[in-house]
Symmetry: C3
Subunit: 338 residues, 3 copies
């Protein structure tokens, strides 16, 4: 059971091209491609004829021709040609999905089409704002998407999972502020005077920094993490404390009940044209998020070994629990309506 | 549910030797080997004692000794020796299968033994007729066998799947003749004046040919495809149009509900002793049938993702639909009798 | 369903260190590590918080800190620290298992704690008796543990599975003595005048030997195989017949219903300090037990293909059948009590 009336990231913009691309999303096979004018199309990746995946097919202009028997579909999913037949009966076709491209992502809507309002697309503008430099990738994780949602809302894991990459081992006692509003959950973690995380040390920070993390969750599974960092001690030859802001955007799209696609972006408001800096962040954050993947997949295996084993909620889980409850409520309401 | 009272190809003749060979067929483990006189034997590949596969055992003359505890079986499956015991109680043994070798294949009968009439073996004589040169192989396909049956009866896929190997991209509008007779389904596709398929171009045909395909299906899963090809345009220095006949034999044996063994033969009535020609056909057709395997396995995965997703029948499916219906009828009747 | 009120080998002593080590035993995730004083600890390998495996964590003194959010557990499984909280509520923790180290193994008790009497640990003292030289290993086998129990009690497989390693092809007609006592099953196989097994030939035995195997099974899955071997023919220059004793210890711990961990030891009462001899036994017996693994995993696959296919018991199975019955009785009684 997934929330359907919302926008999900289906792919990074660069993944979608004139070569049809197939991905399972919310347990459904989806094929993505671009029209000749560059705009994206998302169709059911399963021919209505014999269920072959359309991503094995060929683009003829803006139309996708199945690689099996040549059934051809326009961008609305309507079957417009069947080899060996003069006519195609009305109503034959595959499902098309509302699709939009924004912030270097291709977003797909799995719910009722008439509700697919592009203004509802989560604001991931840091990913293409010229005032920011952004790197990112898509990671396949063999774990239920909510495990990753919880992971990102409860950053109390950072000192334990990431102390050799993006975290500080000392960041275990932050001031926590938590908030549930209309359509969002927010957790603010202030960690003054912690030893500087390795990734920040590389930027030239003092050995001790003040770091905050403002984590905002919005359904279905979008999380913004705003991370301002500032020298907490004087540095020789530096008049003003160095301060930098990193924004981590996270969009998680379920693949199946036990796997998901994790789209992440690391945006920064400094060294904008510095490609070496970009390569550094891409490498370091990839390494960090593979540390999460390692834990999450082990957690998923443990859950499958005994799905009834209990869990326990503590203070730090407040945000994750609120997010899961918000999702439960939305899914229940959506299901009841349908 | 598989049709049982019929002959299935269990192996190519060359696969069966004095080294016992195990294969799962119709969800049953079968071991194949040859007697000292060369004749084939097919037994249940599961010792009656502790269920170890007998193909891990050793031949002692014509008898097969289990590799685990040495239980020994004669070619009827009767247990004739149990180490450490003087006598073997009557009735102990493994199942034996009626078996016959014909047309370079070893055929096995899974149904009632008294019905195993060798004259019912499908006529695959092109595979060992001296007037024909034949090459072939066995391909393991992770898809239900009926998907492959449909693939072979409805050759409207050829211009889309095989245009770089054995098909012509123009062959999308053939004259179709279809026929359902007593125990067979036949589809005739006449494609006059199509661009010559790559595999035929290599034989020296004109750039345009007239090509027919006469496809005959007989239960459980045997398909003959007779392919006469003829120059459709004059070739300099050639008085008579070149014409050649290729016959593709196909026998598909279910392994499980979701996988099958695909035995294919490409026989030709020309260049009989030409080993280079044989190597060419083996290579090209292997490549082509791997194109099918690629589609079929993707189709199977899509089906498993949502087994209830509908399919659609169009004109070209007539033959496949008739074949599947014929099979349904036969299986229902067989089950009702049992 | 596994017997729980008994000691199982969880690991070889050398596998357990200050680096936490995870293993699934009886379908439960278990983490093993050593205290600073070297004594072993066995805890549930699933954090009570979010079910991450604790073996991905870190030891802080004798305490294990989860690698995800830093929940810290003492050796009793009690949670003693939750980062970001001053206090830990009472009763929070993971399961701890009674554990004992003996005979170079770490043993774990999965049943009622108060019954975990270390004097019930099977006597595997040959593994660390200075009068014996022992080698061994742990083999992962994708088969139900009872298949391996049957394998070890019924050594009539030896001449068929192991004739190129530790068995004699002639050892098919031993004198068998069988016995079921209080809490044990014993099978004695006397094989006088058999051709010397390859592994024994390497020790300098005559080409023909008298060899016995005294096999003792005790629940849940411990098997001692005492193998005295003696020259059965004179050897030039040897006044007295060579005689040697090898003792094979076997402890099998279920991983899941379809897989197990096989801990084996080959102990000998000769050439005690001879490291080359030890290397020889380690290599030869590893090879032999991989021959078993090969059969057992094939057997398991055949069983899964048709779980209802029958088995057959013959004289040689008496011991195995008694062992399985003993286990059935114990498990039924234990379940009834619970």
């Amino acid at each position: 059971m997934f929330l359907r009336n919302c926008w999900y990231v289906a792919a990074e913009s660069r993944e979608v091209s004139r070569q049809p691309f197939g991905r399972v999303l919310l347990n459904e096979p989806v094929v993505l491609y671009r029209r000749e004018d560059g705009s994206p199309v998302a169709l059911e990746d399963r021919c209505c004829h014999r269920r072959a995946p359309l991503h094995l097919g060929t683009l003829i202009g803006d139309r996708l021709r199945c690689g099996y028997h040549g059934f051809t579909f326009d961008t609305s999913g309507t079957c417009v040609a069947i080899p060996g037949q003069d006519k195609v009966a009305a109503g034959i076709g595959v499902r098309s999905y509302p699709v939009a491209e924004r912030h270097r992502y291709v977003w797909v809507w799995f719910g009722e089409k008439e509700k697919a309002d592009p203004t509802l697309i989560p604001d991931f503008s840091y990913n293409d704002d010229p005032a920011w430099a952004a790197v990112g990738a898509c990671l396949h994780v063999e774990a239920n998407y909510l495990l990753l949602v919880e992971n990102l809302i409860d950053l109390s894991h950072v000192p334990f999972v990431h102390s050799s990459t993006i975290g500080s081992a000392e960041d275990t006692n932050p001031k926590l502020k938590t908030e549930r509003g209309e359509g969002f959950v927010r957790v603010t973690r202030d960690a003054p005077g912690i030893s500087t995380p390795p990734s920040m040390r590389a930027l030239g920070f003092a050995p001790v920094v003040d770091q905050s993390k403002i984590i905002t969750f919005k359904p279905a599974s979008n999380i913004w993490i705003d991370i301002p960092t500032k020298d907490a001690a004087p540095v020789a030859g530096r008049n003003e404390p160095m301060q930098r802001r990193v924004m981590i955007l996270n969009a998680i799209t379920p693949e199946t009940e036990r796997s998901c696609h994790y789209f992440w972006v690391n945006a920064r408001d400094f060294d904008l044209g510095d490609t070496e800096r970009s390569a550094f962040f891409l490498k370091t954050v990839t390494q960090a998020f593979n540390e999460d993947k390692n834990i999450l997949e082990a957690q998923q295996k443990n859950i499958e070994l005994d799905p009834k084993a209990p869990t326990l909620n503590v203070n730090a889980d407040w945000g994750g629990v609120q997010a899961v409850r918000m999702m439960d409520g939305l899914i229940t309401a959506e299901t009841a309506r349908a």
